[in-house]
């Protein structure tokens, strides 16, 4: 990974998101999350109010200055070169500080408090696994799939029903979104989100 790589980001186009929960269920299923752990959540605001209702899908935003990382007492977070914020579950003590710090409520804690198969704290990994050996069974059990290592797009965005949810390096996302806005009303067929662009395949 070169250091010129821009940072991986999500963007949810709320003109498109319809709260179908495709993304959140795809995530839960792909990583076999216990019920009650939502790495990704879809929220609708002003439900039922004309002109105001909208839906959007939120997960860990993989912040540049990740507040979770700054408050963690055992320093279990690490940020990859491509901006993906990950943590080491075998170091994490499940104290919940990160949840207080996170503006998006991304960190999740198993309901029954016990260290389940997904460890003390669980959050979106941008489908990039964790610090364990890449694509090992151990990694998969603790962190879920490592699709990034496979050269695949994170599953939530690739399965988004309306292609509202975009993921990739921030510049590419901006390009896709700009193309949508620019083509408005011009009869241009906006291509589905370019996988080729995002991962250079």
């Amino acid at each position: 990974m070169s250091s010129e790589m821009s940072r991986m980001k999500f963007y949810c186009d709320d003109d498109r998101c319809i709260e179908c929960d495709g993304c959140s269920v795809a995530c839960a299923e792909a990583h076999e999350l216990p019920v009650g752990i939502s790495r990704r959540k879809v929220v609708t605001l002003h439900e039922g109010i004309e002109g105001k209702e909208f839906s959007t899908s939120v997960a860990c935003m993989h912040c540049t200055d990740a507040p979770c990382e700054q408050v963690c007492p055992v320093d279990c977070f690490y940020i990859r070169e491509d901006g993906i914020v990950l943590h080491d579950k075998e170091v994490c003590i499940g104290c919940g500080y990160c949840l207080y710090a996170c503006p998006f409520g991304a960190p999740q804690f198993p309901r029954d408090g016990a260290f389940g198969t997904k460890g003390a704290m669980d959050k979106c990994t941008m489908c990039a696994g964790g610090p364990l050996e890449t694509n090992s069974v151990h990694e998969r059990e603790l962190y879920g799939q490592n699709r990034i290592a496979e050269g695949k797009v994170p599953v939530c965005a690739s399965m988004c029903s309306t292609k509202a949810l975009l993921v990739g390096d921030s510049e590419n996302i901006a390009t896709v979104y700009r193309a949508r806005v620019a083509s408005k009303g011009k009869g241009v067929q906006t291509a589905p989100f370019g996988w080729s662009k995002a991962y250079g395949q």
């Binding site: 003109d15 498109r16 319809i18 709260e19 179908c20 929960d21 495709g22 269920v25 839960a28 299923e29 019920v35 009650g36 439900e47 039922g48 109010i49 004309e50 209702e53 909208f54 839906s55 029903s161 309306t162 292609k163 949508r180 083509s183 408005k184 009303g185 011009k186 009869g187 241009v188 067929q189 906006t190 589905p192």
Partner: protein, 750 residues
């Protein structure tokens, strides 16, 4: 729809919606029910600035994306559409040439429409005159426009009128047979289109052939069995030609003859056994009656991957059989998407546990009931085989026999090739490239021959028949009241040897219409008409001449065999507007022997002032995470977790009037004397005169938890009261689809 122009299916495709300049949606909520399909609607908005208009009793997720939203009172779509037509005709916005060339009977519509002034429409529908005018103007001026509907339009006692007037609205604007136009009915289950095409129905044989002795003879011959033998399987030839009980009212067949129940006509017997495969009958109306019927059956057989909740609903103690059927991923075969596209569903894994695919179960029963050889013979006939291969030989059997909707081209090999190469098709036009050139994805029917590429846009005369073009079907005769029913001059599909209207092709007229001469050999082989011509000579010759085998006629706005020749507004049987019931009553006479059971209309409607006791409109619909009776989705922990319990959307004002709190329990009472108690969820998506409940739950019946009825380890992750316990009596006069979208109820705090 089939009664307007020949076929009752979605005319265009989901991708084609991207070509539209306006989209009007009646009684459908694609954002929730067809989420991935809705992506194409959103793209139409982005690409074309397409105006999205949503007409719905609820402010749905689809409405949240709309440019215009009209909150219509349930069951008043006919007045709304007449209101639009009124404005269109008054301003001369109709497509006059199109109507002249391709439509019959529009004058009658014009007369009726004249009565529906915007003010009158406002009174009946609850949508203001200004809004109606604004919506009509936008829709009429932004062509092509596509009209979308689903169950919100069909589930009424006048559902057939709804689905006739919608096409007429489209015809008036010339929106039929064009890219970006059409009447696009969104089907529910994954293979509703396929199963319907296959005649898994009480009133037809596969391919909509009807139940006349002529149809039976054609099938007997095609199945390689003796017609007399087949007829001998029935009680009599007479009963062979009579519609059977439908899914909507089969229970009446069990209860018939009991005091207070509708009378039945079923070959001198009640129903005593029920054999169900993959059908969640807990999602049909009148659950209390369904339960009673189940209790009274002698034998219940339920084949499903999950426990069919019919087994849970009933208190019957003996002779309920649960057979573990395989899922569709454990077998293979054709599935037809809502736009008539066929896809090959490949088998993913072997059937798990002891489950067996549906066909194996049917074959074994056929053996034990003594008709296996006759039953499977047709699979061997095409290539004179001794053993058949499932499903390929069945696919090819269907292709060999079903001509009416043009399935000749749907051979197993071709369908597989399409699925294998799905990446070679364009998302908007569905056109293939590379090896798939000249074909549309999934060969949307009619696919007339084994080299035809399918038809993505029905009734498009700007394409040649070879490229999927066609006029309207010649299905209703040559003339009516002295008017020619064939299409007008120069309105034949592009490149046709016959530029005008022409009749459906048969052995007698083929030479004259196509301008050809048949050889003696061809004459000997050709079938009587295009619908039974297994020699395919008619279809092949037609392709060469650019002629659609089913003719080129006018669409009709008048259906002279229906009780309402043109669609008329009739209030739902249970209407909140007693004043309007007097003005727009339901059918005066009850319908005798409607799918073997007498069905009530006017007498029930006028028997009581329903609205006085039951003042709230009850709206039922789907949720995104569940479908149908919901059993298979509630068996998924992730999907069940999204809506773990049954609920009711209620406006806070209405709730407050009854002392109901957000998250508190409320009871809903129906005119049938049934009730359910569910959790109240405050929502502004419904207005204070109506409530909304989803229909996917089961496992609780009128407050009784039936959890103990599930065999160990088979209970789904979520159970709840079934909405259909409180939906009202009422059935469409033609199709018998239940009126679940326009009922009444009374609510109270629980």
């Amino acid at each position: 729809m089939a009664n307007t122009w020949g076929y009752g299916a979605m005319t265009n495709s989901l991708g084609d919606i991207q070509n539209s300049k306006a989209i009007i949606i009646f009684g459908a909520n694609p954002a929730v029910n067809h989420p991935v399909g809705f992506q194409h609607f959103l793209k139409a908005k982005e690409r074309n600035n397409s105006q999205l208009i949503v007409i719905d009793p609820r402010f749905t997720k689809t409405a949240a994306k709309a440019d215009f939203y009209a909150r219509i009172r349930p069951g008043t779509d006919v007045p709304f559409m007449y209101g639009m037509l009124n404005i269109i005709f008054k301003n001369g916005w109709e497509d006059k040439k199109y109507i002249d060339d391709r439509v019959y009977g529009m004058d009658e519509i014009k007369k009726e429409a004249a009565k529906w002034t915007p003010e009158k429409v406002a009174d009946v529908t609850g949508v203001s005159a200004e809004q109606l005018m604004q919506i009509t103007k936008v829709y009429a001026k932004s062509t092509p426009g596509t009209l979308i509907w689903a169950m919100g339009l069909t589930q009424h006692s006048v559902g057939t009128s709804n689905t006739r007037l919608a096409p007429i609205l489209q015809l008036s604007l010339g929106n039929m047979g064009v890219e970006g136009g059409g009447t696009n009915i969104l089907r529910g289950h994954d293979n509703v289109q396929g199963a319907t095409d296959m005649g898994c129905l009480a009133d037809t044989l596969p391919g909509y052939y009807g139940l006349s002795s002529g149809s039976w003879k054609y099938f007997a011959k095609s199945w390689g069995v003796d017609y007399e033998w087949l007829a001998g399987r029935f009680k009599s030839k007479d009963w062979m030609s009579k519609k059977g009980f439908s899914l909507a009212r089969w229970y009446a067949g069990v209860l018939g003859g009991k005091p207070g129940e509708d009378k039945i006509h079923n070959a001198g017997t009640n129903l005593k056994a029920l054999f169900v495969m993959g059908n969640g009958i807990t999602s049909i109306a009148q659950q209390a009656k369904v339960k009673e019927a189940l209790d009274n059956l002698e034998l219940i057989v339920l084949a499903d991957p999950f426990v069919n909740e019919a087994a849970i609903l009933t208190d019957k103690k003996d002779d309920i059989f649960l057979l573990p059927a395989a899922t569709q991923f454990e077998t293979s075969g054709t599935v037809v998407a809502t736009n008539r596209t066929a896809q090959w569903r490949y088998q993913v894994v072997e059937p798990m546990y002891e489950s067996k695919p549906d066909q194996d179960i049917m074959f074994e029963f056929a053996k034990r009931l003594g008709f296996y050889k006759e039953y499977t013979k047709a699979m061997l006939m095409r290539d004179n085989k001794t053993e058949f291969k499932w499903p390929e030989d069945a696919t090819n059997e269907i292709a060999r026999i079903i001509k009416t909707i043009g399935l000749t081209g749907w051979t197993a090999d071709r369908l597989k090739k399409h699925t294998d190469n799905w990446h070679m098709f364009d998302e908007v036009s569905l056109r293939g490239s590379g090896p798939m050139k000249d074909e549309y994805y999934g060969l949307p029917w009619p696919c007339w021959t084994e080299t035809h590429g399918g038809s993505t846009v029905l009734y498009d005369i700007n394409r040649s028949v070879k490229e999927g073009g066609m006029g309207f079907r010649n299905r209703f005769g040559m003339e009516h009241n002295g008017t020619d029913l064939l299409a007008g001059k120069s309105s034949a599909p592009k490149g046709s040897s016959n530029p005008n209207g022409y009749p459906e092709i048969n052995a007698k007229n083929i030479e004259a219409v196509l301008g050809i001469t048949l050889t003696a050999d061809e004459k000997a082989k050709i079938g009587k008409n295009w619908k039974v011509d297994t020699s395919n000579i008619i279809a092949e010759k037609c392709m060469k001449a650019g002629i659609a085998p089913y003719g080129n006629a006018r669409a009709r706005a008048i259906v002279w065999t229906f009780p309402d020749q043109i669609p008329m507004h009739r209030e739902p049987l249970h209407s909140p507007r007693t004043d309007l019931v007097k003005k727009y009553p339901s059918f005066e006479k009850d319908k005798e022997n409607h799918f073997r059971v007498d069905t009530k209309y006017g007498t029930l409607q006028s028997s009581k002032d329903w609205a006085k006791e039951f003042p709230i409109n009850l709206v039922t619909a789907r949720l995104v995470n569940l479908n149908g009776a919901g059993m298979e989705n509630r068996a998924s922990k992730y999907l069940a977790a999204l809506t773990p319990e049954m609920f009711c959307d209620i406006h806070p004002d209405l709730a407050n009037n009854h002392g109901i709190r957000n998250g508190g329990m409320m009871t809903i009472h129906s005119p049938e004397g049934t009730h359910i108690t569910v959790k109240a969820k405050f929502s502004f998506s419904v207005s204070p005169d109506r409530i909304f409940i989803p229909f996917h739950f089961a496992g609780v019946f009128q407050g009784r938890d039936l959890k103990s009825h599930y065999p160990d380890g088979t209970a789904p992750y979520a159970t709840g009261e079934s909405a259909n316990t409180v939906t009202n009596y009422g059935y469409d006069i033609i199709t018998q689809i239940p009126e679940t979208k326009g009922g009444l109820c009374r609510i109270e705090k629980a």
